[in-house]
């Protein structure tokens, strides 16, 4: 939790956020595969809300699709997985290996995501163990659901 900074207090709840550089200090992903821009809410062991802004300059729009830019579902899934990994990292004891290897994913994509959209990715921790984590994820754009799923990540340790 040392990377988090307290930025606001609403009612009795303390809201902690992470900027892009703090996200980058936790996740090992880099351009063009770092899919989280900011974290707006963290409750370690429970919940995390992250943002991913979609611009027309995303590399994927070169081919997906040349005549109509639609953000690929697989990249939304990657953003969901990175959100789970962030929550996992922020919920573990310092020094323990983070879960970042995708083991299983079930997901539904219910509306297209296009340049100009901002993904609000809400992750709930379902189960966290030494070797892995399961997170339930909902993705909204301006309050409208665009994707949901459940993701299992492993730390890479063998059975």
């Amino acid at each position: 939790m040392s990377a988090a900074s307290v930025v606001s207090v609403a009612s009795s709840a303390v809201t902690e956020t992470l900027g892009f550089e703090q996200v980058r200090s936790i996740l090992s992903h880099r351009f063009p595969f770092l899919m989280i821009d900011r974290v707006t809410d963290i409750q370690p062991g429970k919940r995390l809300v992250a943002l991913k802004h979609i611009t027309g300059n995303e590399l994927c729009f070169l081919g997906h699709f040349p005549d109509r830019a639609i953000f690929p579902g697989v990249l939304i899934l990657e953003a969901m997985a990175q959100s789970v990994s962030l929550l996992d990292s922020l919920s573990r004891e310092p020094g323990s290996p983070p879960a970042k290897f995708l083991g299983n994913a079930t997901a539904q994509f219910v509306a297209p995501v296009v340049p100009g959209d901002s993904l609000q990715i809400e992750t709930l921790l379902v189960k966290q163990m030494q070797r892995g984590v399961i997170g339930s994820v909902h993705v909204n754009v301006q309050g409208k659901r665009v994707a949901r799923g459940e993701i299992t990540l492993g730390t890479g340790e063998s059975i």
Partner: protein
Amino acid sequence: MRDEVTALLKSEVARMIELPEESIDDSVHLAELGMDSLQALQLLVLIERTYQLEIGEEELQCFTSINAIAEVVLSRMAVAS
């Protein structure tokens, strides 16, 4: 209850490791069939949701065979009731 738990476990394990249910021996070590630790974690969460149980990480090491997992589930049920 044991039969119901065993049937659920066998069905889920068969789905996870992509083998027909009838080919899975209830006493065989699941790692030998290709089941890994993340699949065991998924199975644990499925059990928790299905039977409204809380199962700790330390019990994952008992997830060796369908019979062994059934024992864990039934003992947890007994504690919860």
